[in-house]
């Protein structure tokens, strides 16, 4: 993130942004299934809270 904030050139910015996003997605993909389930359950609870308010 700090690396992104220091980039001025927009082409370089999007290149680094894409690389970091892909790295983050890979990290999330490799989580244990139980951990992914926890994340989904938190997402669902947050969404239901938004729908109620």
């Amino acid at each position: 993130m700090r690396k992104l904030l220091s980039i001025i050139d927009s082409e370089e910015f999007w290149k680094v942004f894409s690389e970091e996003r892909e790295a983050r997605r890979k990290q999330l993909r490799n989580l244990p299934f139980a951990k992914k389930i926890e994340i989904v359950e938190k997402m669902r609870a947050a969404q239901l809270k938004r729908e109620k308010s």
């Binding site: 997605r25 993909r29 989580l31 299934f33 992914k36 389930i37 669902r44 969404q47």
Partner: protein, 168 residues
């Protein structure tokens, strides 16, 4: 969700269901990064409508809440998809991958069969995840499966072709 899996395992032990496998959104989550999904799709091995009715009766008699097609198991809306609706689903369950989730045994569709079932449904949200799942699939095996189960009504191989073209 894990409590729901424990309940399903109990149903297996009691002989109410022969076998099951996780499909749909949670199966996608098994292979990819977590994506919001509201219900648990369970593909269940059964051969007749009567068995399917008996499953719902089992839950009704135990006072589980049933909302439309969903049975609420420990707060999780579970939709049961019986294998008799498609030989592809039957085979997908039989060849599902054994997993353990926090010590609880279960099964999840292999990525190739998951893709095939998503190609059957072919909704916009299915089309979105298929390209990412393809990265993990054995394409030879996938094409072999699609070749056997494609027909005029559900041209699975054609649908995969359209997705692959859109990625060019």
């Amino acid at each position: 969700m894990i409590e729901a899996l424990r309940t399903l395992n109990q149903l297996k032990r009691e002989g109410v269901i022969k076998d099951y496998a996780i499909g749909g959104g949670y199966a996608v989550n098994y292979y990819l990064e977590p994506i919001l999904t509201y219900d648990l799709d369970i593909f269940v091995l059964m051969t007749t409508d009567e068995e399917y009715s008996a499953l719902y009766q089992h839950f009704k008699s135990r006072k589980y809440e049933i909302r439309d097609v969903y049975i609420l198991i420990e707060g999780m809306p579970v939709q049961f998809l019986p294998s008799f609706i498609s030989p592809l689903i039957d085979e997908a369950i039989r060849r599902a991958k054994r997993i353990r989730v926090k010590g609880t045994a279960s099964k999840v569709l292999t990525v190739e069969y998951l893709i095939a079932t998503l190609l059957m449904a072919f909704r916009p949200k299915d089309k979105m995840v298929i390209p990412c799942l393809l990265e993990q699939a054995d394409m030879g095996l996938l094409n072999e499966i699609l070749g056997r189960f494609s027909d005029e009504k559900t041209p699975l191989d054609n649908r995969l072709g359209r997705i692959l073209e859109s990625l060019q």
